[in-house]
C-alpha cells in the first residue's frame, strides 16, 4: 500500500517517516523494509515516485564534472594538493593544468600555482583511495589563480538556491552589486568587486541566501535588501548611480 506522510518542502529531521510502499529512495533518505525515512535535517522533495530530502547542512560530496573553487595547500614534484572543503584530499597534476608537455625538472610548479592561490577547477575523477583528481584545463580564467576579491563559504547543498533558476538569483546579485562572482559546487564562492562596500554587500546577500534558503519569498527579500542598501550607498556618496535591475531578473 502506497502512502506518503509528508508534503513537499516539509522540514524533517533524521528518522522522520516519509513514506511507505514502492517508492524510490532519493538523496537524504534510507529504506527499512518498505518504509522510507529521512537521514538528514532538510526539506522534503517529492518527484514522481522518488522521495528525497534536500539537506540543509552537510559536507561537500564531490561528483565528477563539478566545478569548484579550491585553495592550493601544498606543491609537490609534479602535482599540487588542493583543499576544496571535501572530506578527501584533492590533487591537481601538472598535465591537468598546463597545455602541452611539461618538463617537471625544468618547471617550477610554484610559478604556475603557488601555496595559498585560489583556483577554479573541475572534478575530473576519483581514484581508488577516494582522492579527488582535479583539472583546470579549459576552465574560465585559465583556472586561476584568481586575483583579488574574497572567498565566502556556504553550505554545498544550498548552491542551487544561490544560483537560482537559470541563474536568476546569482545574476541579480552580480548585476545589482556590479561584482564578479564564481560559485563553486563545493559551496566556496569567489566575489570580486570594484569597491569594497559593493563586495561586502554581495557577500551579505550570499550569506542571507545561505541562512534563509529554506524559506519562501527569498528572492524578493534579497532584491529588497540590495536595492535598499544601494540607495543608502548612493546617499552616502559611495556610488554614483544605483545599478538598475534588468527586465526579467530577480524572478
Amino acid at each position: 500500500m502506497k502512502k506518503i506522510f509528508v508534503k513537499n518542502r516539509d522540514l524533517v529531521v533524521p528518522g522522520t517517516l516519509l513514506a511507505q510502499g514502492p517508492f524510490k529512495n532519493g538523496r537524504g533518505t534510507f529504506k527499512e523494509g518498505n518504509r522510507l525515512y529521512s537521514s538528514v535535517v532538510g526539506l522534503v522533495r517529492l518527484s514522481n515516485d522518488t522521495v528525497s530530502v534536500v539537506p540543509l547542512e552537510g559536507p561537500y560530496i564531490p561528483e565528477v564534472g563539478d566545478t569548484v573553487i579550491g585553495k592550493i595547500v601544498d606543491v609537490k614534484f609534479s602535482n599540487w594538493i588542493v583543499d576544496i572543503g571535501a572530506p578527501y584530499q584533492a590533487g591537481l597534476r601538472v598535465q591537468d593544468a598546463v597545455e602541452g608537455r611539461v618538463d617537471v625538472l625544468k618547471t617550477d610548479l610554484r610559478k604556475i600555482f603557488d601555496i595559498g592561490d585560489i583556483i577554479y577547477a573541475k572534478v575530473k575523477a576519483f581514484n581508488e583511495i577516494n582522492q579527488i583528481d582535479l583539472s583546470t584545463r579549459g576552465m574560465p580564467f585559465n583556472g586561476g589563480p584568481l586575483k583579488g576579491g574574497q572567498l565566502v563559504k556556504i553550505t554545498p547543498s544550498k548552491v542551487p538556491r544561490l544560483i537560482g533558476k537559470g541563474g536568476s538569483m546569482i545574476n541579480m546579485i552580480k548585476n545589482l552589486t556590479g561584482t564578479r562572482i564564481i560559485v563553486g559546487q563545493n559551496g566556496w564562492v569567489w566575489v570580486s568587486g570594484r569597491k569594497e562596500e559593493l563586495e561586502k554587500l554581495a557577500i551579505e546577500a550570499i550569506l542571507k541566501v545561505n541562512r534563509e534558503s529554506h524559506t519562501q519569498g527569498l528572492t524578493d527579500r534579497v532584491r529588497e535588501m540590495l536595492v535598499q542598501r544601494l540607495n543608502e550607498f548612493k546617499e552616502q556618496g559611495i556610488i554614483e548611480e544605483a545599478p538598475q535591475l534588468e527586465e526579467g531578473e530577480g524572478q
Partner: protein, 247 residues
C-alpha cells in the same frame, strides 16, 4: 556510591525527592543546535544543572593514515570534563572514567551513523562537560546526536538517552548528583527510538533482575521524551528563521 549521611531521605513520604521532583519526573532540559561557528555541527544541552557542549568535526581525513577503514568512516569520541565543572577541581586531561565513557558513547552513537558513505574518513565527536550534576553521559549522547544531525551527517535515527536508578529502595527516573552519590544504582540507557534499539546500557550498583529491568524500561521511557525534544530543537533552528523573515 558513597556512604549516605545518617537520616538523609532521598524520597519523602509523599513521593517528593530532594529537588521537589516526583519519581518519574525528568529534570528541566534545554537544547540548542548550531551554537558554534568553527565546528561542522554543534549543540548545547542544559539538563538539570548539567551544562554540556558537543561539537562535530568531519567527515575528514584521518592522520595517522593507518587508522583509516577502507570501506567506512570511523567515529572518534572524546568526552571530557572541564576542571571547573565539578565541586572539587578536576585535573585537566582524560582520567580512566573519561576514557571509559568516551568508549561507551562511541558504541552508543556508531549504530546510528551511516558510516559507509564516507570511507577512509573520521567523524570526530567532542563532548565537553562544562558543569556536571550526574547524568553527564546521557546528556552528552543527547547533545552529540544533535550535533551530528546539525553537521548534516546522515543517520538512521537520532540517539536519545536517559538514566534511571534506585534511591531509598525505589526505582526513579533521572538521578541528580546527590541521588547518584547516595543511591543504590544508576542505569544509563541510550536508544534509537524508531526500532527501539538499545545502543548504551550500563548498571552501576546492586540490583535484582526485576529492579534492573524496571529501571531499564523507565530509562527508555525517559529517553523517548528526550527524543521529542531533540526533534523540536533541530527544527527550531530553522523555524526560528522562518519566523524572523515573517513567512
Amino acid at each position: 556510591m558513597m556512604g549516605k549521611p545518617e537520616g538523609l531521605k532521598l524520597i519523602d513520604e509523599n513521593g517528593y525527592r530532594l529537588d521537589g521532583r516526583k519519581k518519574y519526573e525528568l529534570r528541566k532540559i534545554k537544547m540548542e543546535v548550531g551554537v558554534l561557528k568553527s565546528a561542522d555541527g554543534s549543540a548545547y544541552v542544559e539538563w538539570g544543572k548539567n551544562k554540556i557542549m558537543a561539537a562535530i568535526y568531519g567527515p575528514r581525513e584521518i592522520h595517522p593514515k593507518h587508522l583509516q577503514k577502507p570501506d567506512r568512516a570511523i567515529l572518534r569520541v572524546r568526552y571530557n570534563m572541564a576542571p571547573f565543572s565539578v565541586e572539587e577541581r578536576k585535573k585537566p586531561g582524560p582520567d580512566r572514567r573519561s576514557v571509559e565513557i568516551s568508549k561507551v558513547i562511541r558504541g552508543a552513537l556508531e549504530p546510528a551513523v551511516i558510516l559507509e558513505l564516507f570511507p577512509r574518513t573520521s567523524i570526530d565527536i567532542f563532548i565537553e562537560v562544562l558543569q556536571a550534576d550526574a547524568g553527564t553521559r546521557v546528556a552528552g549522547i543527547t547533545a552529540a546526536s544533535l550535533a551530528l544531525a546539525d553537521a548534516g551527517i546522515p543517520m538512521k535515527d537520532l540517539v536519545a538517552a536517559c538514566a534511571a536508578g534506585k534511591i531509598d529502595g525505589e526505582i526513579v527516573l533521572d538521578l541528580n548528583k546527590e541521588e547518584d552519590n547516595y543511591g543504590e544504582a544508576d542505569v544509563p540507557v541510550a536508544i534509537m527510538p524508531i526500532k527501539n534499539n538499545i545502543t548504551l546500557l550500563q548498571m552501576d550498583g546492586y540490583l535484582t533482575r526485576e529492579e534492573f529491568l524496571e529501571a531499564a524500561k523507565l530509562a527508555i521511557k525517559g529517553a523517548k521524551a528526550v527524543y521529542q525534544k531533540q526533534r523540536e530543537a533541530l527544527r527550531e533552528k530553522y523555524l526560528k528563521i522562518v519566523e524572523e523573515v515573517g513567512e
